[in-house]
């Protein structure tokens, strides 16, 4: 996969407590539109198979359709949009996005119960909008990947949430570890589950998804926390993602995340997966230490 990745806006119509980009903390949108245009232009015809728009919330960007036009004009084969899915409740809007070249929606789904997601995203009614958005996309034949950030609040409904993904015919379920940056930096104590709690619910959920023949991936979890499913980690596959964030270009998003956002501790010294596993989020280790992590034996790679 060779993908161009654009942080198109800091703003969002939700206010997730764990928002990794700290969108609800942003005082203003620091994204400079001409930077986005330049980035799309400079990387045209370089073999990128898709462009990923993320934010904040790309669907509220006033120039979203202009960006889609540019992506098409510059020859990018398809566009993926990372979204909370709320604006997708409007089927006509979804159709226009499809017309504009959107071939995948990556939709945040953080709860099985409406109250859970609405509480986490701090938006009343948001959950129903998201579900309707997913249905609209699927009706038009657009693939949907969901992303669920595991929190203390949704942990024990993960199993039901997985079932819901099956009902909605979601194509790919991604489950993410809470990254304690942005709003998450402040929310970690109240929202971040312990690793043992994570394992307790995550492993059965993965098993259920595999039994349902759903594609499943895990994001940001140390391998020792998700073993024996470390091969489902996004770090396992080789990706080539070039990203622009606030005017700065990161040649390889995954390398950047591993080097800048994660760290190794004492347990990692003898771990066979060190290097492949990105380690632990720095801010997590800083707050909670290293006692939850243990090296993996040689056969784990």
């Amino acid at each position: 996969m060779k993908q161009l990745s654009l942080h198109v806006t800091d703003t969002c119509n939700s206010k997730c407590g764990f928002c990794v980009v700290g969108s609800p903390l942003a005082q203003k949108d620091a994204v400079h539109y001409p930077d986005l245009v330049r980035f799309l232009f400079e990387n045209a015809e370089q073999g990128y198979t898709s462009v990923n728009f993320h934010g904040g919330e790309p669907t509220i960007h006033p120039k979203l359709f202009e960006l889609l036009n540019l992506a098409r004009l510059f020859g990018y084969p398809e566009v993926h949009i990372q979204t909370n899915g709320r604006k997708l409740k409007d089927s006509e809007f979804v159709r226009k996005l499809q017309e504009g070249g959107v071939r995948l929606f990556i939709v945040s789904l953080h709860g099985f119960h409406a109250e859970t997601q609405d509480m986490l995203a701090q938006v009343r009614g948001g959950f129903e909008e998201t579900l309707e958005g997913i249905r609209n996309a699927k009706r038009l034949g657009i693939p949907v990947r969901t992303n669920t950030v595991l929190t203390k609040q949704n942990l024990y409904e993960l199993d039901q949430l997985v079932g819901l993904c099956g009902e909605l015919d979601v194509d790919h379920v991604n489950i993410s570890n809470l990254h304690p940056v942005g709003s998450g930096f402040f929310a970690i104590d109240g929202m971040g589950p312990a690793m043992a709690e994570t394992r307790e619910v995550l492993l059965p959920a993965v098993e259920r998804l595999l039994a349902m023949n759903r594609r499943v991936s895990l994001e940001g979890f140390p391998f020792c926390v998700v073993r024996p499913y470390q091969h489902l980690s996004i770090e396992w596959e080789k990706r080539d993602i070039r990203m622009m964030y606030h005017g700065s270009v990161y040649d390889n998003y995954d390398t950047y995340m591993d080097q800048e956002c994660r760290t190794y501790g004492p347990a990692c010294q003898q771990c066979s997966c060190r290097g492949l596993c990105g380690g632990v989020y720095k801010e997590y280790a800083e707050r909670r230490g290293w006692s939850e992590f243990a090296p993996l034996p040689a056969a784990s790679r």
Partner: protein, 422 residues
């Protein structure tokens, strides 16, 4: 003009922030800055705003070689000491180098004077019966720049220039404030009090009395905080004094030291900032952003039982404070706990309207502290009065010349004004 900033804060990084504010003002006028900093301040430069060279403590006297190469490459036309006191102390104590070796470069030097040295006796009451002498060199340097706040709005000297320090952070919108408090787990109608603890305030000082007070004071503070109503939450940023764990765990939020942008959003979202450091740049930032501030000082010296009786008689200590004092004595006056700086700061605090922007109480006046905290959190009249004072003061500060203009006047004092005026 190429300007080299020596900003070597090695404990907190307030002095470096002041240097950055001056450098921004000069950059807006087309000048170039390069910083030499201590590794502790690296985070302030991670965004790449200014080129910089980092000094590590283990470099020792080798830093003169680093200086040589920066001077050769950057070719500064002026060196700014941001600030004078930190520069003198760090170069001699940390790197074992006579700070004035920089005179060999023959480059004009402009000191930033954050403590109004010309009005002082060049000695700081730093711990019990311990004064720290400070170099008088600044008297021969021909000029100085004083950041306001903390310095006073005017100077009696023709060659010393108070400049407006752009110290406030952007106010936080109610949406952001509400979000941040929810993320922290603070209920909607709760009040949030912020405390900040830096490494240099931990009991790892070179003085036994200093260490005793560094260790003991948080327990007394926690006792006062515990007396506040249940609707008050506490967020502590930075180091975690052990005594804070006595506060109700569901109302205590511990945040490690964090990047300035994060810190500013948090600061802008609290109802009250409580500090034992009157000189804190965080206090300046709080009041210039419209956040209520409360400074707790100690003006009482007590070494033995007779002092205990005297103090108790004057302040009507509660049981906890009385026991605490008996256990902790001897105590010395302080304004920048656990460092003294009590008498040293006095001239600068005289006729300084900065002091109107926040409340001050005495450490041993438990009733006074509790009442003041409650007023600052719950009493509209008190809150509005401080907000008015903050606005009035912000007006006075913004009427001052900015850093770049004052810098040019300092250059004139050194006989270099015309060469660089644009």
């Amino acid at each position: 003009m190429n300007i080299l900033f020596l900003a070597l804060s090695s404990a907190g990084y307030g002095e470096t922030i002041i240097g950055l504010s001056l450098a921004r003002s000069l950059r807006d006028q087309g000048h170039k800055a390069h910083f030499i900093i201590d590794c502790i301040s690296s985070g302030l430069f991670s965004g790449g705003e200014f080129p910089h060279t980092v000094l590590e403590p283990q470099m020792g006297p080798m830093i003169t070689l680093v200086m040589d190469s920066v001077i050769a490459e950057f070719k500064p036309e002026v060196i700014v000491l941001a600030d004078y006191f930190t520069y003198c102390g760090v170069f001699s104590k940390r790197y074992k180098v006579d700070p004035w070796f920089i005179e060999q470069y023959g480059i004009p030097i402009v000191p930033v004077d954050i403590w109004e040295w010309h009005e002082s006796e060049f000695a700081i009451d730093v711990f019990l019966n311990k004064k720290m002498p400070v170099s008088r060199k600044i008297l021969d340097m021909g000029t100085a720049l004083r950041p306001v706040p903390l310095c006073r709005l005017s100077s009696r000297r023709q060659d010393v220039f108070p400049f407006s320090l752009q110290a406030g952070a952007a106010p936080v919108s109610s949406r952001t404030r509400e979000h941040l408090r929810t993320a922290l787990g603070v209920p909607k109608h709760a009040k949030l009090v912020m405390l900040a603890s830096a490494k240099w305030q931990m009991p790892t000082l070179s003085d036994d009395n200093g260490n005793r007070l560094a260790e003991a004071v948080p327990a007394l503070l926690a006792h006062y905080l515990e007396l506040l109503p249940d609707s008050v939450h506490f967020v502590n940023v930075g180091e975690r004094p052990a005594a804070l764990s006595q506060l109700p765990q569901d109302r205590l939020h511990l945040i490690p030291s964090c990047a300035q942008t994060r810190f500013n959003v948090l600061l802008g979202s609290v109802d009250l900032f409580v500090t034992l450091n009157l000189g804190a740049t965080t206090l300046t930032r709080a009041v210039m952003t419209g956040v209520q501030g409360l400074v707790i000082e100690n003006s009482i010296a007590g070494v033995g039982p007779e002092d205990l009786q005297r103090i108790d008689g004057t302040l009507r200590l509660d049981d906890f404070a009385r026991e605490w004092l008996a256990r902790t004595m001897p105590v010395y006056p302080f304004r920048m706990w656990p460092l003294g700086f009590h008498d040293f700061l006095q001239p600068m605090l005289t006729d300084n309207p900065y002091l109107d922007t926040f409340a001050r109480t005495q450490l041993l006046d438990g009733e006074g502290i509790r009442t003041m905290m409650e007023r600052m959190l719950f009493d509209r009249g008190t809150i509005d009065r401080y907000k008015d004072s903050q606005q009035r003061y912000a007006g006075l500060v913004s009427a001052l010349d900015d850093g770049a203009s004052c810098f040019m006047r300092a250059m004139e004092c050194l006989g270099l004004g015309r060469r660089y005026s644009r």
